[in-house]
Symmetry: C2
């Protein structure tokens, strides 16, 4: 199932722009204070570092990703999620546009 | 005054990507159903067409803009807004990154 919209959030208006705009995200909080973000990654191969563990949920498009310590590129498409440990990193390879929700913790 | 966050919104998770990613926006609705969006424009000179009238509110960075039928480039910075008539167009020139809220109507 694809999460098309999220109700009741407090949206931060200023975006985060990473890698010269190859990744753009807007952060928000749920009523209980939980922080998340929505974003897009444009065609690129990028490496992200994590502080807290992250769950990347695809809402449109797709990506390939490779977790630190793995040699395997995996694919993630609409409605699918992948988990990234905290204090780690992952590579992500996007050919079209990858739309995601990032959940922390 | 800068609008740093907007509470109580329903956020659409899939972004709109324009001009090969030079403009990325996420749309949302207020509790009363009013539609708005937050977005960023990366360094570029772009032309946007309007259907409904739009008010562009800068929340960070800055832009220069020129409305259809005008020869004057105007500057818009944090906390400032400019109005664009409906069924019209405007050029926008961004040197750094322009973060905005788009209000319709």
């Amino acid at each position: 199932m694809i999460t098309e919209s999220i109700p009741g959030v407090t949206l931060r208006t200023k975006a985060y722009v990473y890698f010269d705009g190859k990744c753009v995200s807007h952060s928000f909080t749920l009523p209980d204070g939980t922080a998340k973000s929505v974003g897009v990654i444009l065609p690129a191969t990028l490496t992200f570092n994590t502080g807290a563990p992250e769950i990347m949920e695809c809402v449109a498009g797709s990506c390939e990703y490779k977790l630190a310590g793995s040699d395997a590129w995996m694919t993630s498409g609409p409605g699918e999620r992948f988990h990234v440990p905290g204090n780690s990193s992952f590579e992500i390879r996007v050919r079209d546009v990858y739309h995601y929700i990032c959940h922390f913790g």
